[in-house]
């Protein structure tokens, strides 16, 4: 097999495996509390409020919000 075809096939395999569908019965780990996007909600809220008050940036993972006179 020539190197170009081998590379193309490897790339295609990598792309396909990157989009592999995880079946419902394979989702036990993803359902864990420590695997939820955004992390612990109370900590995320504290962090967002603290950094909003001390830096010029806000938001990103959620709404920039604010709702206070701290910036």
């Amino acid at each position: 097999m020539n190197p170009l075809r081998l590379t193309a096939m490897t790339l295609a395999l990598a792309l396909v495996s990157g989009c592999v569908t995880v079946q419902p019965w394979q989702r036990g780990t993803l359902a864990r509390e420590d695997m939820q996007p955004g992390g612990e909600p109370a900590l995320a809220a504290f962090d967002d409020h603290t950094y909003f008050s001390k830096e010029a940036s806000s938001g990103g993972r959620g709404f920039g919000g604010g709702g206070c006179g701290c910036n």
Binding site: G18, V20, T21, V22, Q23, P24, W25, Q26, R27, G28, T29, L30, A31, R32, E33, D34, M35, Q36, P37, G38, G39, E40, P41, A42, L43, A45, F46, H49, T50, Y51, K54, E55, A56, S57, S58, G59, G60, R61, G62, F63, G64, G65, G66, G67, C68, G69, C70, N71
Partner: protein, 421 residues
Amino acid sequence: MQLNPSLNAAALALLGLSQASAAADAVPGWTFEGATLIYSEADGRVQAAEPRFRATRNWDSGRSLSMGLTLDALTGASPNGAAPASTPQTFTTPSGNGSYTIAAGETPLDDTFRDTRVALDASLSTPLGRRNTLTTTLFASNEYDYLSIGAGATIARDFNLRNTTVSFGVNVEQDRIEPVGGAPQPLSRMPAEGEPRASREASVSKTVIDVLASFTQVLSPVSLVTLTASLSKSDGYLSDPYKLLSVVGADGEPLRYVYEGRPDTRLKQALYGEYKRFVYDRDAWTISLRLMSDDWGVFSQTVDTTYRWNFGARDHLEPHLRYYRQSEADFYRAALFDGEENQIGEASADPRLGAFDAITVGLKYGHTTRGGLPWWVRLEGYTQLGRSAGVPAEAADGLAKFDLEPELTAVLFTTGFRFGR
């Protein structure tokens, strides 16, 4: 029967429920959460205590209602924006009826501010069909000089056997600000204590509209990625009515002080990516990157990572590292040169609009009781290191003898618990 939360969640996942609804929180019934942040800056600067309470009701139908109460008590001293000087400096308090004096060479801090904020929020998530979830949110926040109300809605749709979730959201916020002493004219001179003052607006307002689009993709049975793009448009009074700038001569010494003035619109855009992976069949690793820019000239990069080491069946340690870097706003000025305040329309010496790097280092410990109730504590240190910016060339030599970007350090202690379900 009391199920282990993660096993319970896994069981829900097996039933084909979506990732979000399969979280342990989604077990029908009430859940109550309490958490408190104690924030303490060095050198007697800002001290804050922020307790939060949340009650969440989940129904079998997948609907959930969450209500939160936040209290925020602030005290301490905050930079007023003026530059240090070789002689003591006296500033008029915002009310105009008092003054405070800062020693020579010191960063001017206004220690007269105290504030208590009360915030309420409620959000309702409702499944629409088998693949969509609509979440609507209302919130209100009140301080003695600030009232904010807002509403938002987010729709999420699952695809691809719930391996892909796409969501769109919009949030509108309306704020009313009633500054102590009124809102000063931008770049107008700070009057001396008791001196008659030009009339000021007693009440000003601003509107903030946020929109975001988010994409979450399951990559494997142990990893997922979230990408979020967001836009935020602010209109109205965006200045800080209590912030000043020094107007200095060639020697860098102050001639007078003027109130800051910022543009009355701001458009921010941000890109956020988060990758999570379950490693060693035990721990959870998260890394995120955020890029933000706005039409004020601020560009920032944030990298944040945590590693949750589940060293016991009910215990974990989680180190946290965050690095943040921002450039200064176009109108950020450490001070103005004599007469400059009459030639420009906007200027601010607020250190939050300056150029700096910030580092957060922290460690969290979490424990789940035998009864299945989790609690945690977290201790973090936060440091801001300023980079020189906005120094007027005519006074650069004179100002060089002062520390214009003093380091900010803070300690954050956070604790929280959850019970119910």
